[in-house]
Amino acid sequence: MNKKVKWSVISVSAVTFFTFGGLVSKHQTGTAVPNNSTQNGKRHAYQDDDLNKDQGGSFGFTDGGQQDNDHFDQGQSSDWGQDNFQQAPSGGFEQGHGSSGSSR
């Protein structure tokens, strides 16, 4: 009888420990904010579900908000074509209300 109780306690403790461990490790890794999409084919970089996942006092800033390296590896987006270089125009079109210029 004592043996049974002992093994029950050990089993419950083990399950609790692994469940807790699993939850902790799951929440420790959510730093990246994916840009690949979801809803309507679009996803904002700051979409709220990511933020909620990353809550816990740091917004998911497990790097402590630090940035030291300056390596700019080329991305892999297949949607980007070649850049087009040309001489800038020496004139322009008449502006409407939908004109984007430097902040003013």
Binding site: V33, D63, G64, G65, D70, G75, D79, F85, S100, S103
Partner: protein
Amino acid sequence: MMFQAMNSKIILEGMKMEIKERMKEEILSFEQNASRFIKGNSLDFVNNASLHSPVFLKHELFDLLKRSLILAKLAHYYVHPFVGEDMKSAGYVSSFQEREPFMEKPMTVSSNERSLPFRLPIEVLTDRWIMKKQHFSFDFGGFGKGFIIDRMKERFYTKAENWLINAGGDLLVTGTMTAGIEHPVYMGQDMICLQLKDAALATSGKNYRKWNNSHHILNGRTGKPANNGVLQASVIADTVMEAEMAAKIFCILPFKDARALLQKNLPRIAYFIYFEDHQLVTGGNQTLYREMEVAQ
């Protein structure tokens, strides 16, 4: 409808008058809370808070901070909202609406200065509570303008309509509309005409909001005005905040580095870069706009 807010001319088109009025009210209220030029407002309270003491942020301000920090991280902190003191050091001490910024001493525009490591100067304690770890002041700048425009769409857009919200050159379009990119030299004319569908377009440049030999685009990792050979950068993205951040990155980093960083961290953008040597570069995800016409 047209009115002045956030140091910019705001244009609202396409929505019902009732919606325009509500938007105007919210934009003006946001400015009152989040502008660093208004003494005694919510942002001023946070900016003057003591170090190592918990500070409570109003919901809107906390949301703005949260979104800004996520984008700042994607931008490797070359763009971030902790630049208030650097802006003041660079001479940007009062609103452009009031007068030209006062500059105490001429500042040399930096070039290729070594980027400094970045450490987040705040600790986020819980939802809406932060603690300042170093002395700094917030200047949300383009993040703020982008935030409130994006928010207007989230709050009020319920059915398919053609809307235009233009806040001093940062604009958001719903439905299909024609938009232009202003020529940075022949200001008052558009050098590019585009057809946008449900997209945001933002432009940053060194041709405006400048004083003496300086301008307002600071490298977040050096705190100094950036000089990378780009005169103006325009970006199309899904949100104005994203477009604003990406346009700033193109004005700060060498073009190749900016391109690589954004291709990796914010691939849903298209860009139009005007260099100081009058070269124009277009690229990125060209499915984000329908037609493009470049002036002669």
